[in-house]
């Protein structure tokens, strides 16, 4: 019978100090019982001889120095794992909340996970077709990659994530072994509902494990939510050989929660009040993606974060960008022009793209085409700046051609319907059609041989055709 400690020494926000405990270890999970009936759990985050500082996941409301019994559980934060978790819904610390009863699994794992040994990793090379031109063509998603969506409040990042899930799972590479792990940290009820509905409508609900910590749920709980979700993802991927797509939303709430706890602990802040270990903590989450040698499964992460004040240099998107393998940045201006998905092409990037495209994967011209589109679109920006100073009429003929190219590129290449699913061929051909608008000598990023093979000047006044989903452009 384990010892129970009666009472607490101090309570400060979500942190509790307890004195006189014996045999506790660092990172151990403790269980509280309030007034003899309500149960909560917490984690030891500092330990000095017999004094422990404990972080309570459900928050310290209603706890007093007298009404609480504390018991050491003797293990770190663990979660029971089984394949049955797919199709179920859990709270932020992995307890079922869908009235289907507890999980009958004996297999338990530490949610903190362990770093994956680089010599046992397999370098990701297989691309995932999302059917979205801006992603497939320019920032290709690779199986085993971590590719976040940098968004802002009010932008359609949820729709985009949902479309990726739907179309990636419906793609020709789809098989029985595809599943989604969805972790919500501090998101609104409506957002969680939107995802649930989308999963149901697209018929993947049986293949989704949902972990929900909503906006009004305890703040500390969301510090553990992504770890719980990723532990499940790793189990399904590396032990059950499944391809797992993990959606984490919203990483900003996670970082805010960390700042809140850090400040109650009285730690020395680094940037904007965030603790010095924000980078390590974010890395401990993002690095849990990838492929292990000799295993069929993979973990692909799509974290979503809202950039405070749309500022990409804010510590959260900034540190995220240094860890993840690229980013998809959404743009308020494009969104204002009703272009969906409003992907801001220039700052978006997929670091793993270069090895997962080209001959044998997509098509030989993919890399050159993407480089040329990036470069041409960068020039569109210059031409627009110039036009705003001297007026469009005064521009040189080539600058005018760039303006026309930019408009068409945004409307037909970046823009597409939320249901539109383009094949990789369609995306690439569309790119060449757009480049056909520009004189050949402007295309300086393309190898001469590839240029000869694929470049055809598009005649003026001839509309660019997207063979898929007719009407998707005309509808706007």
């Amino acid at each position: 019978m384990p010892i129970e400690y009666l009472g607490l020494s101090s309570i400060n926000g979500p942190l509790i100090a307890l004195e006189g405990i014996q045999g506790a270890f660092f990172d151990e999970i403790v269980e509280f019982v309030l007034n003899g009936n309500e149960r909560r759990i917490g984690r030891i985050i500092e330990l000095y001889e017999d004094r422990a500082v404990i972080q309570v996941f459900e928050g310290s409301e209603n706890m007093s120095l007298k009404n609480t019994h504390t018991r050491l559980t003797g293990h770190p934060m663990e979660i029971a794992l089984s394949k049955e978790m797919l199709g179920r819904t859990f709270n932020g610390i992995g307890q079922p909340i869908d009235d289907l009863g507890p999980l009958g699994s004996k297999l338990k794992r530490d949610v903190n996970g362990l770093p994956l040994n680089p010599v046992k990793r397999e370098y990701p090379r297989n691309y995932i077709r999302t059917g979205i031109s801006a992603i497939d063509g320019l920032t290709t998603l690779i199986r085993g990659q971590k590719l976040p969506i940098f968004s802002g409040n009010g932008l359609p990042h949820d729709q985009l994530a949902a479309q990726i899930v739907k179309q990636a799972s419906l793609g020709e590479d789809s098989d029985e072994e595809f599943a989604i792990v969805f972790a919500a940290m501090g998101v609104k009820h409506d957002v969680a509902d939107f995802f649930r509905r989308t999963f149901e409508e697209s018929g993947v609900a049986d293949h989704v494990a949902m972990f929900l910590n909503l906006a009004n749920d305890p703040v500390v709980e969301r510090l553990i939510t992504p770890k719980v979700a990723l532990t499940v993802a790793e189990y399904l991927a590396f032990e059950q050989n499944m391809h797992i797509l993990v959606i984490l939303t919203d990483m900003t709430s996670f970082a805010e929660a960390m700042r809140e706890v850090s400040s109650s602990k009285g730690e020395i802040p680094s940037r904007k009040g965030y603790p010095g270990y924000l980078y390590s903590e974010l890395a401990a989450i993002y690095e849990r993606a990838g492929i292990v040698q000799g295993v069929n499964g993979s973990v692909t992460q799509i974290p979503i974060l809202t950039m405070p004040n749309d500022d990409i240099t804010h510590p959260i998107p900034d540190l995220t960008g240094y860890i993840t393998e690229g980013q998809i940045v959404l743009d308020r201006n494009l969104n204002g022009q009703s272009i969906y998905p409003p992907v801001s092409v220039l700052p978006s990037l997929s670091r793993l793209m270069k090895d997962g495209i080209g001959e044998g994967y997509t098509r030989e011209d993919h890399q050159d085409l993407a480089n040329q589109l990036f470069s041409a679109y960068a020039k569109v920006g210059d031409a627009r700046n110039l036009a705003s100073v001297i007026g469009e009429d005064e521009l040189s003929p080539i600058d005018k051609e760039y303006l026309a190219f930019g408009k068409e590129f945004e409307e037909t290449y970046i823009g597409q319907g939320p249901e539109e699913n383009r094949s990789i061929e369609e995306t690439l051909n569309l790119g060449w059609e757009l480049l056909g608008r520009l004189p050949k000598e402007e295309l300086d990023r393309v190898d001469t041989k590839i240029l000869e093979k694929y470049y055809h000047p598009t005649k003026r006044g001839e509309g660019v055709t997207t063979s898929a989903a007719p009407g998707s452009i005309a509808n706007r």
Partner: protein
Amino acid sequence: MVNRTGKIYGINGPVIYLKGNTGFAMSEMVYVGGERLVGEVIALDKDRTTIQVYEETSGLRPGETVEASGGPVSVLLAPGILDNIFDGIERPLEKISESGGAFITKGVSVDSLDEMKRWETHITVREGDYLHGGDIFAEVPETRAIVHKCMVPPDLEGTVVSVVPDGSYTITEPLLTLRTGSGEERGIPMAQRWPIRKARPVSQRFAASVPLVTGQRIIDTMFPIAKGGTAAIPGGFGTGKTMTQHQIAKWSDADIIIYIGCGERGNEMTQVLEEFGELTDPRTGNPLMDRTTLIANTSNMPVAAREASIYTGLTLAEYYRDMGYDVAIMADSTSRWAEALRELSGRLEEMPAEEGFPAYLASRLSAFYERAGMMHNLNGTDGSVSIIGAVSPQGGDFSEPVTQNTKRFVRCFWGLDKSLAYARHFPAIHWLSSYSEYLTDLAPWYQDNVSPKFIDYRNRLMALLNQESSLLEIVKLIGSDVLPDDQKLILEIARVIRLGFLQQNAFHKDDTCVSMEKQFLMMDTILYLYKQARALVTMGHPMSVLKSENIFERVIAIKYDVPNDRLEMFAQYRRDIDSFYQRVLEKNA
């Protein structure tokens, strides 16, 4: 000294406290708890010892024992370092995976280097020789590319009393016996240990005089780094820091590459492992891994080991320098190392300076970069350690403390630019914000080994780029149509320089690495085109006529169209420029 131990009193993340005066020494390596986690003493006072632990501390309990090891944190130096991948404290990840599987578990005890493996050894000393510290006594072919030279530890000297014959030996077997001045006889094996925080001694430091040729045009021609030099590559995320480091690690003419992945992505380390195993060194024809060692502390590995990983890499580099090799260190990224310092400093509740970084950030950075240099070694050989450090400034803002302090101690600054990266102009090293202080030091080398005109050409290219930048200011206001033709020509030539020369395609088989000779001929062709075109413009031929010829595009495409082994093709380009000149003259006669 034996069996000094202490009891854990407090635990706060990677920092633990012991009560009382334990008798431990500063920077001593200790073993923590029942799992024997590796740690290092970082602060001592009468009633408290502070230790940073190089592994995950979850599961530790107050009261567990901490045992002193008797020496500072050090690395084992012997054959087997090359073609290998280690964690931050020189534990081979391959061996860890054999015992622990795909994930790195705690408290794994593995030998740094294979102590069972027998190496083919050739002894180079004889009985009766007097050996000083650092002297070479045996040679071992460590990989196809590199001969490992076994040296007497720097703090030892004496007469060889006995020596084994040539044969195969393990790294721990004594190969010779040395009688020191005090008459004591010591067996010397191949392996020696050296503390990571202490620079290995040398006899003399030289001034930089030879460039580290990287095959990257913007570096070799515009902002060269010397062998034994220091360079920083700062840039926001996605600007190509890692890519630039990979390119230098692949193609530079250093003998040995130490690649330190400090707080970076796991997949990147895997990529280096895979790619360097397959690619061959253009100079020796051997796999690149044969000259490479990787130190991997990915961003999710323990933070204290991240702090150590930089020093581990440096010490390995200095060891190979002592053999007379030119070693280049890629440190990706020094910002993560600085952040590890900040994190530990915060846990120790030290008074922070700028942006939470500790006040000793600048002195640690300078101590790190000063370990680079072209040296005359104790044993009479010459070797160098060059350091190329990536810096990841917060928010891409170069005014933050790590970038600013780094700038004070490096002599080469390759500033990566976001707008170039957005336009996919790679390498995104911006020619206006970058600089190299080695240019004057290296000028004689370029004049003797490439061409007497080299430095002049390089400066003319830079001048054109600077003129372009001021012209672009005007263009931004009034458009390019109103410029006079001679200025339009400058814009056009600068475009040729940017696209045809500065921009380099790492994925193109010819363009990924370019010899100094080709770099010079490219400059020569561009400047010849400029000279002829300017003559035409001066005669009053409009730029629109000049541009209607495709000669500018042809010169831009030289990097793809002229294979590296067919440099005689440049003569044809000169003829083409001449005929372009004639055509324009005739057309407008």
